[in-house]
Amino acid sequence: MLDFRPVLQIVGWLLVGLAAAMLIPAAVDLSAGSPEWAVFALSAGLTLFVGLALEAGMRSDWRRLSVRQTYLATALGWVVPCAFAALPFAFGRPQLAATDALFEAICGLTTTNATVLTGLDHLPPGLLLWRGLLQWLGGAGTLAMAVALLPALKIGGMQMFRIELLMGGDKAAPRAARLGTTLAATYAGLTLTVGLSLWLVGMPGFDALVHAMATVSTGGFSTWDASIGHFNKARIDLVVTLGMVASGLPFLVLAQAAQGNVRALWRDAQARWYFAILAAASLVMTLWLMLGQHYGFPTALRHGAFTVVSAITGTGFSTLDYGSWSGLPTALLLFTALLGGCAGSTSGGIKIFRLQLLLAGALVQMRRLLRPHAVVIARFNRRQIPKEALEAVMGYVFVYALAFAALAMGLGLLGLDFVTSVSGAVGALTNFGPGLGPVIGPAGSFGALSDPAKWLLATGMLFGRLEMFPLLVLFIPGFWKQ
């Protein structure tokens, strides 16, 4: 029998943390004189109560989690906080129904920019801050998972990024602590840098804070219905673009760069491809904007780069309404969103290193066809790719494709058209957010969808954020046996 106590204890801690986070918007609302603060105080109280109850009631040896307990803790650690994070949306001014409130909370924590709220411009500041905060917390969770958990669990080929914590014996704990500090410092430092820069180039302080949190977590929630397009300033677009680019990089490499080792960015194979793909896609988009929409070069570059970066990192900010476009730019956005940023970042999607691994494997395969007896080895970042990693990546991509097919067909069954279904499925799985077409494009809203469609999309977001397998294994009978 699986021992649930350590798992629930961890969930309890997360809830306590969430409750503490709720106090921030409460304080903001209180100082702004908005009566909404009571909502946050109430939600915080409720969350704190359940969290403390779980923590106290389930006290156990949480240090020795088995593999199955780790999976369960990962899954519940995302799903349960989503439920509590929804409380302010249900109790507060928007008075969202249960489905909508949960949808909004899941979007927030999975850093997906698919909102059911319209009229953001008139919402109280507390709620806007709460949305930004959710994304920021979700981004932090994603980062912790991508650097520590997924490589250790060997999910989808992430063992390529395994840091030998377990090998060091008694040195393991200090190294883990140092790694944690580095990550937290990088994440917080980047947020601060983006926020300050936004403020310096003319964004109001509150907006700068929320947008910084939404940028660095690649979440994309804005404080305005028109997203970043509301400000319509080239300097703001530039800062957000750079912030998104940085957030799509592997954070450990980014930390090295921040410490002065800028060459690390170029030495990392994944970052190199990331920059190359970004440059190529931005160029194509810029050209299209110049030739197809008759923008001048600087404006085309500004919007083209912004849109492409927003898609590949899965952020979902927009300055243009590309929902009404067709042809080249839409296909480009669809494919770049699907590809995603680098592993070890807060971005979504399949991740670039998986494509690199798979292509390296395919190239080796071709050489082997020509010379059946030669020894050819696939490499990534100057390291040999173990065959298990390659198979794990393929297993991952296959499950990703299946999830996409199931999600798109499900949305189609609920009556959505082809473009909405396909782009909605991509948007949810990659934690990008907006789709194409008039319904869920950047100018539309997910509020118009039916409740089952929202549930489908929310499930897709969770699966995408958790890299499929931590949730998927729970549905395997073998997981619960013995």
């Binding site: 296909a331 020509l370 009556g415």
Partner: protein, 482 residues
């Protein structure tokens, strides 16, 4: 240095066969009092001259053997040259197609894609119609022989699992291989005849029955009417469904079933997966159509069975306009274009056995997550698959998806809208021949596409038919290195 003489010799031989085949439509046209027979005779003369010259000038030693590189080169050049030689009748005949369109039509025919740019098929002379069907049929036969004799020996995309047992002893392989090829072609001819009779009994006239039988058994999908199979009644459509189903089943299973030790048809896992998938999707689609329209249930089931079979077997016949069916039908058919038929048939696409291997791979990945030190094997049809096979399958699917994405992007750059580009790229790569949307959907044709788009599709059809690796490998430096 690569010895190209045997390659050219075989090319010449293939051209002679094509020239002989042109005699058939010429005779039909002459008998019907048409004006196109000189076009066929002229084209045949050119093909025969070039073919004869190649055979005569590049005559190798009496017994020659092809090595790996020669086999790859001969495969690609033969398909390319034959498609080139098959195009002139379209340009020289009363249709006066442009060179681009002629090449498109010929390539579409030979690769058994069935994407047509001819509008007004009902008024097109019989000679041309027969030539199109004949191209489908010859292409299908060529692919079946290639899939049985060449691809397994080259170990393309995991096809080596279909290599015949005791295939290591080189001196015994050749006679057995050629015997297998002859018996496969015999089965193919017999099934085509059977299908033609069935079409005729169901109410088609003789000429249409023969053309459609050839297009169905090759999973090509050229029709003699603009409305495709919607021109005929329900009986004919059921015959078409049955013909397509058989056409995409593993052909070697049907060779001499009375012989002792013959593998049981019911136990073939690929066949079972294929039939299960088709019945399941057709059932869901039919019931969904029935629930969302005012059609009779039986009509819905027939139309759904037809659409699903036509797409999954990569044939591309049409019995009903799918346009108004809504999102689910479109998404489902889009995804089915990737599954493809069984290997060992003329069908294109990724092929069912590769999806089976991938499913097993994903299962192994999940099991390994829960039991990191377990040993798990991948089985197919009761045999454990070796490492190289799994890797070959994996690389094939990766390249397939990347090729699909690149061509879809290229199509949007050539002016196609998103739906046309996505579905068109899938339809060309899988040799399906029907896309979605208003242009290349069930009631459309590929004629309105720009010339650039037509060339992209022409190349993609060839790449898909030759199972990607065969073509791509010619572009790797290591192929040309000594």
């Amino acid at each position: 240095m690569l010895d190209v003489r045997p390659v050219l010799f075989i090319n010449g031989f293939a051209l002679l066969i094509l020239a002989a085949a042109m005699g058939v439509p010429a005779a039909v046209d002459l008998a019907a009092g048409g004006i196109d027979w000189p076009a066929f005779l002229a084209s045949a003369a050119i093909a025969a001259f070039v073919g004869g010259a190649l055979m005569f000038s590049a005559k190798p030693n009496a017994r020659f053997r092809l090595d790996v590189r020669q086999s790859l080169l001969v495969t690609v050049t033969t398909w390319l040259l034959v498609a080139l030689a098959a195009a002139p009748p379209f340009a020289l005949s009363s249709l006066h197609l442009s060179p681009t369109d002629s090449m498109f039509e010929a390539m579409s025919g030979l690769t058994t894609t069935g994407a047509t740019i001819i509008v007004g098929l009902d008024q097109t002379p019989h000679g041309i119609l027969l030539w199109r069907a004949l191209l489908n049929w010859l292409g299908g036969a060529g692919f079946i022989v290639m899939a049985a004799a060449i691809l397994p020996a080259l170990r393309i995309g995991g096809m080596q699992i279909f290599r015949m047992e005791a295939g290591d002893k080189a001196d015994r392989v050749r006679p057995r291989l050629s015997r297998l090829a002859v018996s496969l072609v015999a089965v193919y001819v017999a099934l085509s005849a059977l299908s033609a009779v069935a079409f005729w009994l169901a109410g088609m006239d003789g000429f249409d029955a023969i053309c459609h039988a050839m297009a169905a058994l090759s999973t090509g999908g050229f029709s003699t009417s603009d409305a495709s199979l919607a021109h005929w009644g329900g009986g004919v459509q059921w015959v078409a469904v049955a013909s397509m189903l058989v056409a995409a089943a593993p052909m070697p299973l049907l060779v001499a079933p009375w012989r002792r030790g013959h593998p049981s048809v019911g136990e073939d896992s690929q066949l079972r997966a294929y039939l299960t998938l088709l019945v399941a999707v057709a059932g869901v689609l039919g019931i969904w159509r029935w629930a969302t329209s005012d059609w009779e249930l039986f009509d819905c089931l027939r139309a759904a069975a037809f659409a699903v079979t036509s797409t999954a077997t990569t044939t591309g016949f049409v019995a009903a306009d799918i346009g108004p069916w809504g999102g689910f039908a479109h998404v489902a058919l889009f995804i089915l274009a990737f599954t493809g038929g069984c290997s060992g048939s003329a069908a294109g696409g990724v092929k069912i056995f590769r999806w089976q291997v991938l499913t097993q791979l994903a299962k192994v990945h999940v099991k390994r997550l829960l039991h990191p030190h377990g040993v798990f094997l991948i089985n197919f049809n009761g045999n454990t698959l070796s490492e190289p096979v799994v890797e070959a399958v994996l690389s094939f699917v990766v390249l397939y998806m990347v090729t699909f994405a690149i061509h879809a992007l290229a199509l949007t750059a050539a002016g196609c809208d998103l739906v046309t580009a996505l579905s068109g790229s899938a339809a060309a790569l899988g040799n399906v021949g029907r896309g979605l949307g208003g242009i290349i959907g069930s009631t459309g044709s590929w004629e309105p596409l720009s010339n650039a788009a037509k060339w992209i599709v022409t190349i993609e059809m060839l790449v898909g038919r030759l199972e990607l690796f065969t073509v791509f490998i010619l572009f790797t430096p290591s192929y040309w290195r000594e």
